[in-house]
């Protein structure tokens, strides 16, 4: 069974709304917005978790950060 849906009323720039509707159509809008909200929420939570770790353990060394950046695929 799917989760119960909540109706939200939000305001966004009209050009953005038009671009999203062109991309996903009116019927795909709710799913698109839900995925975007979930992704942004996760990003906020991940940022807060990283900050919590830094507070407790200190910053990650520049050397380890550089190695991790090099390991990430170029796009």
């Amino acid at each position: 069974m799917g989760q119960a849906a909540a109706k939200l009323s939000v305001s966004v720039p009209s050009e953005l709304a038009a671009a999203v509707r062109r991309r996903v159509g009116a019927r795909g809008l709710s799913g698109f917005v839900a995925r975007a909200m979930a992704h942004e929420l996760e990003r906020e939570q991940l940022g807060a978790f990283l900050a919590e770790l830094e507070r407790d353990l200190g910053p990650v060394s520049k050397t380890e950060l550089s190695k991790a950046r090099r390991a990430w695929p170029k796009r």
Binding site: H39, L41, E42, R43, E44, Q45, L46, G47, A48, F49, L50, L53, D56, L57, V60, S61, E64, L65, K67, A68, R69, A71, W72, P73, R75
Partner: protein, 138 residues
């Protein structure tokens, strides 16, 4: 689908018990910070939980990590399980390597994936045919 950081059991342990895991935790935090910079998803394949969960008395740190920290768990589906079996067969590996194969098969769902692992040799062997999957050794 989006770029994704996949965490194996060593990465999950390192982040859940960061104060006790020294350099492993620092490397796991580094790749997690880069995933955040890149706006990537961070996911744990569900079979990994079978390696890190050892009962209610021991699981609180794992549950803490997976509860509202921006790290999601990906369920094992039929297609991922079958893909994992194909990966094992290609290398003639036994099901003793099944969790590694589930991790790699899960990563194949994404446009680009980085697997953070404490077992880079086996994961690299399984992932080697796939250019969009990178392995990051903790």
């Amino acid at each position: 689908m989006a770029e994704t950081l996949i965490l194996d059991s060593e990465a999950v342990h390192a982040l859940a018990h960061a104060a006790e895991r020294g350099v492993l935790a620092e490397r796991a935090r580094a790749i997690l910070a880069v995933a955040h910079e890149k706006r990537a998803l961070v996911r744990v394949p569900a079979p990994v939980l079978s390696e890190v969960c050892r009962g209610p008395r021991y699981d609180s740190a794992i549950n803490h990590l997976l509860n509202a920290r921006g790290i999601g768990v990906l369920d094992l589906t039929r297609s991922i399980a079958q893909r994992a079996g194909h990966l094992l067969a290609r290398l003639k590996l036994s099901s003793a390597h099944a969790i590694d194969a589930f991790v790699v098969a899960t990563s194949l769902q994404f446009d680009a994936a980085v697997i953070a692992t404490g077992d880079p040799d086996d994961i690299q062997r399984l992932a080697s045919p796939f250019r969009h999957v990178r392995v990051f050794a903790l």
